[in-house]
């Protein structure tokens, strides 16, 4: 079965970047399932853990520093993500299964590249048992 990746994208930059990848017809693997959030700052660490119950990898993407529609939500996200990462590491989740990136509304190709990279990274990892749940 194909690996599934959940991507939390902020509405203003990264989701727009994914749209631009579409408009520009940049191809990337079909493993991503995108969840639109107002701001990367909205991504509760709990979402990441829940996502790992249902998928094999997670991408969180927000505006580049300075571009945030809400001034500083993406910085909140960055702080929170750093903490979440250390927790994930502590409980033994491999690096690369959960990733964070900045993608702007003009970076359609970067979105496609990131999507491809995340899928490749996750595929390289051992099969994930989704917290012991169903596949």
């Amino acid at each position: 079965m194909d690996r599934k990746i959940i991507a939390f994208l902020c509405n203003w930059c990264s989701y727009a970047g994914a749209d631009l990848a579409g408009v520009s017809r940049f191809q990337y693997p079909a493993n991503l399932r995108i969840v639109r959030v107002p701001c990367s700052g909205r991504v509760d660490p709990l979402f990441i853990f829940t996502a790992l119950k249902n998928a094999d990898g997670v991408l969180v993407a927000g505006c580049h520093p300075g571009d945030c529609h809400y001034t500083s939500g993406n910085l909140v996200a960055r702080r929170k993500f750093a903490l979440t990462k250390s927790l994930l590491e502590f409980i033994g989740i491999e690096d690369g299964r959960v990733q964070f990136d900045w993608i702007s509304a003009a970076e359609g190709n970067r979105f496609a590249e990131t999507a491809t990279k995340v899928v490749e990274d996750v595929e390289k990892l051992e099969e994930w048992d989704r917290w012991g749940g169903e596949k």
Partner: protein
């Protein structure tokens, strides 16, 4: 205001009253230009209560910003910050966007202008176009991509940029191609050439078949006037258009016509030549079967009997004619008109219309004795006999008289019939010969002799031979035909013995057969109306050679087409003339550039001479497919749209209309804002820089595209010549700026910063360490935080070289060499991989016309003229110039001006505020709370955009199985107008209480569907979207299965979220429509007056005892204009304004509340209630600690010196030397910013001092002269007047010393490389502008930020320059950053405009997608409060819970994600909803 009205009324005779005038004031504004300036003005005006017409010349709004990569000084992505504004502007109910439009006429008075707007055709219906781009894929024509600055190509049907608004395509048509324009029959040559190039032969042939019945015939015999006009003829030779046509006709099968219905009307066509046949063909296409009567035994007219088989094989012609008979057209041969059938008989038989096309088969006579002797044949008769297969005995020696095509045909036919010697006699020389060159050359090649300048005078017959007596001719002056007239030479008679003479000096119309009531003209041809071709007898039309006299076949084709049009109109009882003969605009021929590759015209293959003269086999062999494509590739796309109409074939939305026409719209607007932007300086004008010559010399705007992730190289830093990453890049500054030779003495203001930004970003993009060097004269980083950006760039390794450039030259591998001189005069040469030219800003394209049409004044550079004390106002009342239209500006200044102009216009129209704006009403909302979800899902095919990859039907079937889904359907276009109506019906029918649309991006389409829900009585938040186009079909084009599975998942997730959706209510908070302005300086006073002009009361608080602020100490502004009077007037106006309540000598002790509801307490104990706050607290002059300031009275700050100069000018009279030192306390560690005003101030001080005492030596010691914009002129003037400018470095600052002989200033001069000691009578110091300490107090009250220099920090440096993130609080003047008076005035107005957008609301809408606290769980820990960027959360200390101010909350959700007890959630993005989505995956 009333004074102004009286002023306007004075110009109107007839004595209108003020009241009448006021009654006509119109509450709308026209904004010209849809760049960021136009967008901002439009949004502000619309929110202030005025209807806006946004008139944009191009097909999309956005202006310059979409093409920029990042923006300085924050490195924000330009598109990211712009696109929300684009969408907001595009969807605003009270902004009407007119694209492809420009103002062509303006009349009337301020307050009520009558405007004519010309709307050029876009050829696309914006409302139908979905922006899918299938049309562009089908388009065979490539044009230069202007958006990508020529670095890549676009199609002739294009969308300016990916995120364009409107999201619709446009077709680029400059006119019809010259080839098509030149074709008498209007055959769309560019169309079939373009499709041949794309190897779409079938489609190409279809164009030919549509336009011509006889393409194979014409492809052979047409003298192709199209090729004479072909643009490629300017280079190596015209495209072989005729050969391509022949190739298509010969190689492609011709499909049958699809005629829906045949009409009964009988039509007779007399003559089956090209005119008659074409007429029958055109009629057939329209469902009329005509009957053709032909006198000869074969059909085809001259084509059949006038042109020999070796040029046009009969079977080709016959096959093409048979296409008509195949569709039921009858051709009656051997039926001579006038003899076998007459006009009367035809009418009796029920023919309602008749077309006479009998041609010109009568031979013109020589008019010499002996002309009728046997053995003398008429050319056309001879050819007819040959073509009909009759035997003709010619003998051995044949003479052909004449120089046209018939003469050539006769001569070459004679040769093929066995004549040994064939000679053509022509009375002029070769140059004058009317025959086609190919024909003459072929005849010569076949051995036919030519005798030029010979004319027969008499023929005798002796024995079996003819004796032709000739005379030699010579050419005299040109006659009326433009050809030189032949006259007999004296005594030049000679005699030739000949077997047969063939005369071919021309033909005459065949008119003998026509009835007498058909009138003839003086040339003995049928007299017709030139447009309709109707003869003197109604219902009888004539065309072709019988009307025109002898001509070429394609002209007869034209006549046939026109006749058919007339006949149809005649039969349908329509006006024969209406809308015909319209002159279509012909596209200009492209200029051939030297880089165009040289591709020779195809050489035609012919039978070898010895082969071909044996019989009548076809001589020319036609071209191959490969040759046809190569020829087609030579086409220069003049149209550029070729009108091949392939776009129409693929467009599923049916939105293309190639026949759209220009429209003139009439609008009424009270004021006009001009924001057409700028054009960059054409770098190719400065030849020494090599732009246009060397591929790796690019302009800065090209470099922006190179850096841009969405640019032609996908954001990879490569150089154009070889797509390799450059390792060394140079920027050359001031290209077309500060340039006297080019008449551009001004500084373009933005180039220093954008160059630094480009260098920094390029270094980031580079995979290796990029060597980035900027060659400059002065680094002008005068804006807010610009200096820090400059310093940071230095830290990141960008090199800055102060220099003068000599030239750029190219070496091997397209490497570039820059030769430059350093400050000390030494000359260097350095090698670079790439050179970026920092091009300056010039007036926009069309500025002259606009200025002319609106009758405003331009400055000497062609920008709109404005004055520095009344910026924005043009020379004509009611018309305002915004942004770069009045001179080079960066984005924040432009945006500020845009808001300022908005209030300026609004100030004229206050009486009509809110009169033209619309608001929408909706049916009451159905209550769905507590109901079980009934979800309707609409799945879109998006034409083929989704449907061709995702199996939509399969997704539908799948979705039907999901819980709570009660209705599923698929639509071709879910966004179309009819589907919206359908969705509303289905919501009703099925009782839906949740709606999911699976289509494209919610970013573009969610508002549309939400609107539909509202119209259907459902709460708009009961809606969810799945993006199965941008995230599915478009990005997994080659994986239909995976894409379908993913689409199912995405819809399933949307449905999962939909189950949890709840209606969201918005509430309203009352608005106190009053403003508080803090600070009574110029910007504060300006803001107060502007707000009052809109009718809102203002409290103006000033801590000093008088108004005026910093301006009270100033004598003149940065342009040297006196300002005292201006400031006094302003104060007076403020004091007298009944709406402004001034509080002097007053401090603020507290501000509480939020947007709409502020309460401010003053030191005096008064409390003020107001809805908005403007901070205009100004700044102060720094007290220098150096250069003996304070200890020596001869050392003064610039402000002090200004006071001295204006109050005691005599002080300067006795002085010899004045030294002015810039950057005292600025651009150093303590104040790492530029104070912006001092350079200009030093120049003005120097000029004033020189004026008072011309003998005075003035020295200005500077680090970079930052006389940006037009102030550069004063810098020049100062230098001209002998002011000495000496540069110094921060680490080697000047010294001021008190000696026994007086003050001395020591400074190191870099040009002389020596230390100068200047005895100074006076020393001026440019003391920095520093922030007020008190700012901190206000910042706390209002929860707004302050930057590290103590100035207030706006919401966004680029696009929200006078706003704060906290709603309802605004900023202007020096409190924002140091700036000259003019800019402070503009900012004051801008802040007022922004405040008025809020004040115009009677209540503030709160709620929506905001955060919500569950107070039963909340512990009041305060995490959310500290994290909230909008300052919308406060801990209620009494209840110990967090409270969200819905009026302030923006719904980002940072609080919800951070709450440790999950007590806070965000409506619309609730945790339960997101978790529900996640749980569906897997």
């Amino acid at each position: 205001m009333d004074e102004n009205i009286e002023k306007y009324l004075n110009v109107v005779p007839g004595g209108e009253t003020v009241n009448n005038y006021k009654a006509r004031i119109c509450g709308s504004v026209a904004v010209v230009g849809g760049g960021i300036a136009g967008i901002q003005s439009a949004l502000d005006l619309a929110e202030m209560g005025y209807k806006v017409y946004l008139v944009e010349k191009s097909p999309a709004i956005g202006g310059t910003m979409p093409a920029l990569d990042k923006t300085f000084p924050t490195n924000d992505c330009s598109m990211c910050i712009l696109s929300p504004k684009l969408v907001e502007c595009g969807r605003h109910l009270n902004i009407e966007i007119l694209t492809n439009s420009q103002i062509v006429e303006l009349d009337g008075l301020p307050g009520n202008f009558k405007i004519k707007v010309k709307k050029e055709p876009r050829y696309i219906d914006i409302d139908k176009c979905t922006g899918c781009g299938e049309c562009a894929k089908a388009c065979p024509v490539e044009i230069t991509n202007d958006f990508e600055k020529g670095l890549s190509n676009a199609k002739a049907i294009f969308k300016p940029y990916a995120q364009s608004f409107p999201n619709a395509y446009a077709i680029c048509k400059e006119g019809i191609a010259p080839c098509k324009a030149e074709c008498p029959a209007g055959v769309n040559a560019q169309g079939y050439v373009a499709l041949t190039r794309a190897k779409k032969f079938k489609e190409a042939a279809q164009i030919v078949f549509e336009d011509l019945l006889l393409p194979g015939t014409l492809g052979r015999i047409c003298p192709h006037p199209c090729e004479n006009e072909c643009s490629r003829a300017q280079a190596e030779g015209a495209v072989s258009i005729a050969s391509i046509k022949r190739f298509l006709a010969d190689s492609q099968p011709r499909p049958r016509l699809d005629i829906k219905e045949f009409k009964d009307d009988k039509i007779a066509i007399i003559g089956s030549g090209p005119a008659g046949l074409t007429c029958a063909f055109e009629l057939l296409k329209k469902g009329y079967k005509a009957t053709i009567y032909e006198a000869l035994p074969v059909a085809g007219g001259m084509l059949a009997v006038g042109i020999p088989d070796y040029r046009l094989p009969r079977k080709i012609l016959d096959k093409e004619i048979s296409y008509l008979t195949l569709h039921g057209v009858e051709i009656k041969l051997n039926t001579e008109f006038g003899k076998d059938i007459t006009l009367e008989e035809l009418k009796k038989e029920g023919y309602k219309a008749i077309f006479l096309a009998t041609g010109a088969h009568k031979n013109r006579m020589l008019g010499i004795p002996g002309e009728n002797l046997p053995g003398i044949l008429a050319g056309v008769d001879f050819l007819r006999q040959v073509n009909l297969g009759e035997k003709v005995d010619l003998g051995e020696a044949v003479a052909v008289i004449g120089g046209g095509d018939v003469a050539m045909d006769a001569a070459r036919s004679a040769l093929r019939l066995g004549a040994k010697n064939v000679t053509i006699y022509y009375r002029r020389s070769r140059e004058e010969m009317p025959a086609r060159i190919e024909e003459i050359e072929a005849a010569q090649a076949e051995g036919i002799r030519f005798k030029f300048l010979a004319s027969p005078t008499k023929v005798d017959k002796s024995d079996d031979k003819l004796r032709m007596e000739c005379v030699e001719m010579e050419l005299a002056e040109p006659d009326e035909t433009g050809r030189r007239k032949p006259v007999p030479k004296k005594d030049s008679k000679f005699v030739e013995e000949i077997d047969t003479i063939i005369t071919a000096i021309g033909q005459q119309p065949t008119i003998d057969c026509l009835p007498a009531d058909i009138e003839l003209n003086e040339y003995q041809s049928v007299d017709c109306d030139a447009t309709t071709l109707q003869t003197s007898v109604p219902g009888v039309f004539a065309g072709g050679e019988v009307r025109t006299g002898p001509g070429i076949a394609v002209e007869a084709v034209r006549e046939g087409k026109e006749a058919a049009e007339s006949i149809v109109r005649y039969l349908e009882g329509k006006d024969l003339k209406a809308n015909r003969n319209k002159k279509q605009k012909v596209a200009e021929k492209p200029v051939i550039n030297s880089e165009m590759p040289d591709v020779k015209r195809v050489s035609k293959k012919e039978l070898p001479v010895e082969e071909r003269i044996k019989d009548f086999s076809e001589v020319e062999l036609g071209i191959t497919e490969e040759e046809a494509v190569r020829e087609a590739e030579r086409c220069l796309n003049c149209g550029p749209c070729s009108e091949c109409r392939q776009c129409e074939v693929v467009c599923e939305a049916d939105c293309i209309d190639h026949f759209q026409e220009e429209e003139i719209l009439e609008i009424t607007a009270g004021a006009v804002l001009l924001a057409p932007g700028f054009k960059e300086f054409p770098a190719e004008k400065l030849e020494s820089y090599g732009f246009g010559k060397y591929p790796n010399v690019v302009t800065s705007s090209q470099f922006e595209r190179i850096l841009s992730a969405s640019g032609p190289f996908g954001g990879h830093l490569v150089r154009p010549s070889d797509n390799k990453e450059p390792q060394k890049i140079a920027w050359i500054q001031c290209v077309g700026s500060r340039n006297l030779q080019e008449g551009r003495d001004y500084c373009s203001n933005v180039c220093c910063m954008y160059a630094i930004k480009e260098a920094v970003i390029a270094k980031e993009h580079s995979t290796q360490t990029l060597d980035a060097t900027i060659f400059y004269m002065d680094m002008r980083c005068h804006g807010k935080d610009f200096e820090k950006y400059y310093e940071r760039a230095k830290g990141q390794g960008v090199n800055f070289i102060r220099s003068r450039i000599f030239n750029v030259e190219e070496g091997e591998n397209n490497t570039l060499y820059i030769r430059y001189a350093l400050e000390d005069g030494s000359i260097k040469t350095e090698q670079f991989d790439m050179v970026v030219l920092s091009v300056g800003l010039t007036p926009p394209e069309g500025a002259e016309d606009l200025i002319d049409t609106l009758q405003i004044e331009a400055n000497k550079y062609g920008f709109a003229k404005t004055e520095s004390l009344v910026p924005i106002e043009t020379s004509r009342d009611g018309i305002y110039a915004v942004g770069a239209f009045s001179g080079p500006k960066d984005i924040p200044e432009t945006v500020t001006e845009a808001s300022a102009a908005a209030i300026q216009a609004a100030g004229l129209l206050t009486d009509a505020k809110n009169t033209l704006i619309e608001s929408k009403t909706y049916p009451p909302e159905r209550d769905v709370v507590g109901q079980k979800p009934r979800i309707g899902v609409f799945i879109c095919h998006c034409g083929i955009n989704i449907g061709s990859v995702v199996n939509v039907k399969e997704v539908c079937e799948y979705v039907k199985t999901l819980d709570n889904v009660v209705y599923v359907e698929d639509n071709m276009y879910t966004c179309s107008q009819d589907t919206q109506i359908r969705i509303k019906e289905i919501i009703e029918e099925q009782g839906l209480n949740r709606v999911v649309v699976a289509s494209c991006s919610p970013r573009t389409h969610e508002p549309l569907f939400k609107e539909t829900l509202k119209e259907a009585g459902l709460n708009e938040f009961l809606f969810e979207m799945a993006n199965i186009r941008d995230q599915c079909s478009w990005v997994h084009m080659n994986e239909p299965k995976a894409a379908t599975e993913k689409a199912k998942d995405l819809v399933k997730m949307a449905v999962a979220k939909a189950r949890f959706l709840q209606p969201i209510k918005t509430t309203t908070v009352p608005m106190t429509q009053k403003a508080l302005v803090i600070g009574g300086g110029v910007s504060g006073m300006t803001a107060a007056l502007s707000i009052a002009s809109q009718g809102y009361p203002v409290y103006l608080i000033e801590k000093e005892k008088a108004l005026g602020g910093m301006a009270n100490r100033m004598a003149f502004n940065h342009q040297g204009e006196p300002i005292k009077k201006f400031v006094e007037n302003l104060k007076e106006e403020v004091m007298e304004d009944p709406l402004i309540e001034v509080h002097l000598n007053e401090e603020i002790t507290d501000i509480k509340g939020f947007i709409g509801n502020f309460q401010t307490t003053l030191e005096s104990g008064k409390t003020l209630e107001h809805g908005v706050v403007l901070i205009a607290t100004g700044a102060k002059e720094f007290k220098p600690q150096e250069y003996l300031y304070g200890s020596n009275e001869k050392v003064k700050t610039y402000l002090e010196l200004e006071e001295t100069i204006s109050n005691q000018p005599a002080t300067l009279k006795g002085c010899n030397n004045l030294v002015l030192i810039n950057c005292v306390g600025s651009r150093n560690e303590e104040h790492p910013y530029c104070s912006k005003v001092c350079c200009n101030q030093s120049v003005q001080l120097a000029l004033k001092a020189k004026e008072i005492n011309p003998g005075l030596n003035v020295y200005v010691l500077y680090r970079d002269m930052r006389t940006y914009g037009y102030a550069e002129e004063f810098y020049l003037e100062a230098r001209r007047k002998g002011v000495i400018f000496i540069r110094y470095d921060l680490h080697q600052k000047p010294e001021v010393i008190q000696t026994g002989e007086g003050l001395q200033v020591k400074v190191k001069d870099h040009v002389l490389d020596d230390t100068l000691v200047i005895k100074s009578d006076l020393v001026g110091l440019a003391a920095a502008t520093v922030a007020n300490r008190e700012n901190e107090k206000l910042a706390k009250f209002l929860k707004v930020p302050i930057n590290e220099d103590g100035f207030f920090l706006e919401a966004h440096m680029k696009l929200r320059p006078v706003d704060f993130s906290t709603d309802g609080v605004f900023l202007c003047g020096l409190a924002h950053s140091p700036k000259p008076l003019a800019e402070a005035i503009v900012q004051g107005k801008a802040a007022a405009a922004r405040a008025c957008t809020v004040l115009n609301k009677e209540e503030i809408i709160a709620g929506g997608l905001t955060a919500e606290v569950d107070t039963s769980i909340c512990s009041g820990c305060g995490t959310c409060e500290s994290i909230c960027p909008a300052k919308a959360i406060e801990i209620d200390n009494r209840e110990k819970v967090a409270k969200v101010n819905e009026a302030l909350c923006k719904g980002c959700g940072a609080c919800a994600a951070s709450c440790r007890s999950h007590a806070i959630d965000v409506k619309g993005f609730e945790s339960s909803q997101i978790v529900a989505m996640l749980e569906e995956i897997g």
